[in-house]
């Protein structure tokens, strides 16, 4: 299903999931991505300041930043508004 989502939908899933620190493996599993694509998305979001890395010993985790909250909120509002109206009939 990964290819059927837009990059913005995948960013949203990653940012929501990373509200608490998450490992690379758990992110790609949750978002149903392969490691190469997953790494590209994470690099992009980290580069833009939507995610930050947290070191815990030799483990690296990703966590959403405050900047991500605006994105999550805008995205959520936009997508929920898609269901403001539904096809006009009932079965």
């Amino acid at each position: 299903m990964a290819e059927r989502r837009t990059p913005y939908e995948i960013y949203w899933e990653m940012l929501v999931f990373c509200r608490t620190p998450r490992s690379f493996t758990s992110i790609i599993n949750r978002c149903n991505l392969n490691s190469r694509t997953g790494q590209e998305y994470l690099d992009f979001l980290t580069g833009k300041g939507y995610l930050t890395t947290v070191q815990d010993g030799d483990r690296t985790s990703y966590v959403s930043t405050g900047k991500a909250a605006e994105y999550i909120e805008t995205f959520t509002r936009l997508y929920q508004s898609l269901f403001d109206t539904i096809p006009g009939f009932k079965l």
Binding site: T6, Y8, W12, V16, S64, G66, Y79, F83, D84, P87
Partner: protein, 240 residues
């Protein structure tokens, strides 16, 4: 360490909008699920009809009640109809599978549904539509074809019934040979019963086709809107 993620929308407005969106989402899931089930049933009926008439045509051929090439044409025609029914079932199952998963997940959620959970399901629904767009268009086309076919059969049955009532004209003999009307002594009852069934299936096909078109239109609009949203998000990300 990063700041905790906060929300800045007006909570009252957000909650109202969220619950409306959630109800609309649930309602659409229900409607689309029922439509897929009905399609599955009708696909099965058409497949059964096709097979039944193939058998009838083969029997007529064996008994020598009709010409060889006419029987072969009939078998091929009913074979095509049975194939149409089979494709109808396959398309319905493909779409139904995805919608059943989402419906099951939505049903298992505690209500009221949180905004993020709903958005996650909307994303999955969008992905389902992108994946099944062709199948849904095929179903719309098959429904339209089914409508035309069953309407034509219904009209032929009606003509056969009227013709049988009037006696034994050339049209009636042709319809009997074509296997499109009852062989039971030109029974009026069976002709009109067949006409009723065919016309009912035809009308149902037309309705399904119309409903699928409405769904397709709504979803195409949503995808276009999502693409526009994507542009806005990209712009915001570039600026940020």
């Amino acid at each position: 360490m990063s700041r905790p993620v906060k929300t800045v929308m007006d909570p009252a407005i957000t909650e109202k909008t969220l619950q409306e969106s959630s109800q609309n989402f649930a309602s659409e899931l229900r409607g689309f699920f029922a439509l897929c089930i009905l399609n599955l049933v009708f696909g099965a009926i058409i497949l059964a009809f096709g097979i039944m008439f193939i058998v009838t045509s083969v029997l007529a051929l064996v008994e020598g009640g009709t010409s060889f090439w006419f029987a072969i044409t009939q078998i091929l025609a009913w074979g095509a109809i049975a194939f149409l029914g089979f494709r109808w079932i396959l398309s319905s199952v493909k779409v139904l599978k995805g919608i059943t998963e989402i419906r099951g997940e939505y049903g298992a959620l505690e209500k009221p549904v949180s905004g993020e959970t709903l958005t996650g399901l909307i994303i999955r629904m969008m992905a389902q539509y992108r994946e099944n767009r062709k199948a849904i268009r095929l179903m719309t086309l098959i429904c339209t074809l089914g409508y035309a076919l069953f309407l034509a059969l219904g009209v032929l049955n009606l003509i056969a019934g009227i013709s049988a009532a009037a006696g034994s004209g050339p049209l009636y003999i042709f319809l009997v040979q074509a296997g499109l009307t009852s062989r039971l002594g030109g029974s009026l009852f069976f002709s009109f019963l067949a006409a009723g069934i065919n016309l009912a299936i035809g009308v149902a096909s037309l309705l399904f086709s119309s409903w699928f078109r409405r769904y397709s239109r709504a979803w195409d609009l949503r995808l276009a809107e999502a693409a526009r949203s994507g542009e806005a998000l990209r712009h915001a990300m570039e600026q940020g």
